[in-house]
Symmetry: C2
Subunit: 401 residues, 2 copies
């Protein structure tokens, strides 16, 4: 069966379980996932039967890309009546009840939603974003293959960065090396993130104290950034010797992202930071031992917390003090912030096809961040590591002045 | 007076005129504009007096960056009661009416909005996005200076692209040259766009028929892109000889974007495309003659339509046929899609401080796109051109096989 068709059926199954009559999908990434096209428009998916993609632009291109019926949107005001004609039973239910329609409340702006409400007078609206995100949580073999390709390309960029790493080089200059390699090898030039106000700038490269600065970014090490207008990721700080350089990078090939972190140093890490780095690898190893179908996501997080507490580094784990983030990892796919999240409250059991970036890191204010991040796919019997970059602290030796 | 304080006062003036009691600002770019900080949180601005920035993270960094009172957000549920304490008169109005609160409906997701509604039971909500966008439409000298800097950097990138342009080079490889130059000269790694589902990937480089493909992107030439998961901007098409190469690029320095377009060719353009290019410059010249305070924005568009009709190229203007876009230009600043828009229905009169990218282009399906785009600031007496790149078709000569 066609890949997108199977995705829509899985979503329809969830819709039915939730008592939803139809879903109106508008976000570019969700459209691409369900249709193979991210032209702008409205995709209506009934709980049973085939959906219709009403396209604003480009209609021609949507027709070439999407595997469902494509119609020109025309006037938004008429969308409701056109759907009512096409899906008579759904909009005139035998019990006289209004249709229950779902939309992506987590990304849909209020203005857009009000237009939808106006086009469907009498409909009852509910939030469908978790249904879509849960459908997307389980990746197909084809999706995993694309993430594997991104993993291959980011490894090339990582090795280029290590080769280029020199004292005095600025963080953003090292990031420019990474970006040039990935761009010339298929990276589409940006990485998508779903969370409101969140941005990804190829990840983050941070040296010493700059990496350890707290940030608005919902991750353990956001970085200093270039200034208040870009207060995360690589900044202008020169990279020094004997301090950790956190290289947390990703790329996006044919829509699918990878996320990996390595720690490098020019010279030698202080012993206590080296110990913390080794603990991050130990946390990763113990987490890997739990990566199999049936493990509950939050247990991966609580197990890591326990391991870190035993080692006496709780205060430094995943950020420092009040700026700590409360997770160990996150799903990746078309976006960098997918389900499942490895955090308290996430009771999903691991399933084959979940792809997760796991990123134990330790923050030392004024000194830097050390850690590691690999991405994994859960398999029938355990896991496969998608990240291919060599582990361990990458030490670059340089003649001291 | 402090720059951000003056911006807030201008917004407060508009709020008062609209009968709004307070505005809750959440979007990162709007926060940065009003506070000098884009940490995550809620900025409450009353119609009179000082606002408070309730910060989720990073509280420390927000305190360093923002020029208003900063408080830790804590529980979102208590936001309403905390504000009611701080702004007693506003939340207990003498006339017994509920407070009228504005939010950014054009970007605020439904989920976030529902949380706000829950935190302020009894408030009446209205869309404040146009008030904020109209405030941002008029740039200060400091903002214009940053756009000028972006213009300087994008010119360096343009010259590097022309120097690198060779037959057989792929569009994305030429874009990688541009991206490397801007990244090493202060570009923050992404350009912000406000419109739902819109993305900017450093602009677009497109050769021949690839540039002329219709796209979802709300611009005259979106480009082919790398595939359905990135269906705009530079793609894998090799650049040939004697065909137009559209180089529509921008960068973002300290938050402020520039947008410019030039047309290049390896060899020689066919005569009719050269004529169309020259018409794009003629449209720009006639538009420039109207760039002064008092001119109504839509008249710039209708005047260009008239000029193009007289030249017999209406069908090719700003896209082809049904894929045409209906504008001549757009404001730029912190985002690429700011006010004013040079289009029908936009009755704003030009004012000093408006910064506008004007982009007459002609699309020839199967053959390519030619055109030019400069960015301008409106001054007391007319305009200043911010774009510094040389005009004219950049012809690269190459030994024919």
């Amino acid at each position: 069966m066609n890949e997108c068709s199977s995705r829509r059926q899985r979503l329809q199954h969830k819709m039915k379980q939730s008592g939803i009559d139809g879903c109106i999908v508008t976000q570019n990434v969700d459209l691409y996932y369900l249709l193979g096209s991210m032209q702008t428009g409205y995709f209506f998916l009934p709980t049973e039967g085939e959906g219709i993609f009403f396209v604003r632009r480009s209609f021609v291109r949507a027709g070439e890309e999407a595997d469902v019926t494509v119609q020109e949107l025309g006037s938004m005001r008429n969308l409701g009546s056109r759907l009512a004609e096409s899906y008579l039973q759904l909009f005139r239910k035998p019990d006289g009840q209004p249709p229950i329609l779902a939309a992506e409340y987590d990304v849909l702006p209020v203005q857009q939603f009000q237009r939808l409400e106006g086009a469907f007078p009498g409909a009852r609206w509910v939030d469908g974003s978790m249904l879509i995100r849960e459908t997307r949580m389980i990746k197909s073999a084809a999706e995993v293959a694309l993430i594997r390709e991104s993993a291959r390309v980011i490894d090339m960029a990582y090795e280029a960065a290590i080769a280029a790493l020199k004292p005095g080089m600025r963080e953003f200059e090292l990031m420019a090396v990474v970006e040039s390699v990935i761009r010339n090898n298929g990276h589409m030039g940006l990485m998508r993130v779903r969370g409101y106000n969140q941005e990804i700038i190829t990840g983050m490269i941070g040296a010493g104290d700059a990496a350890a600065m707290p940030s608005y970014f919902d991750g353990p090490a956001g970085g200093q950034g270039l200034g208040p207008a870009s207060p995360q990721s690589a900044g202008r700080r020169p990279i020094g010797t004997d301090e950790p350089v956190l290289i947390d990078i990703g790329c996006c090939i044919d829509g699918y992202v990878i996320d990996q972190t390595r720690t490098a140093v020019i010279g030698r890490l202080p012993d206590d930071l080296m110990d913390a780095y080794e603990l991050s690898e130990a946390v990763l190893r113990r987490t890997e031992a739990m990566l199999k179908p049936g493990t509950v996501c939050e247990e991966l997080y609580t197990s890591a917390l326990e391991q870190v507490r035993e080692a006496g580094l709780s205060e430094h784990f995943m950020g420092f003090g009040s700026d700590q983030v409360k997770f160990l990892g996150h799903g990746i796919g078309l976006e960098i912030d997918e389900l499942p999240v490895l955090a308290r409250g996430f009771r999903y059991e691991l399933e084959p096809g979940m792809v997760i970036a796991i990123e134990p890191k330790f923050t030392f204010p004024g000194r830097g961040v050390v850690g590691i991040e690999n991405s994994y796919v859960i398999t029938e019997n355990g896991f496969e590591t998608l990240t291919v970059s060599r582990e361990g602290v990458a030490s670059v030796y340089t003649a001291k002045e």
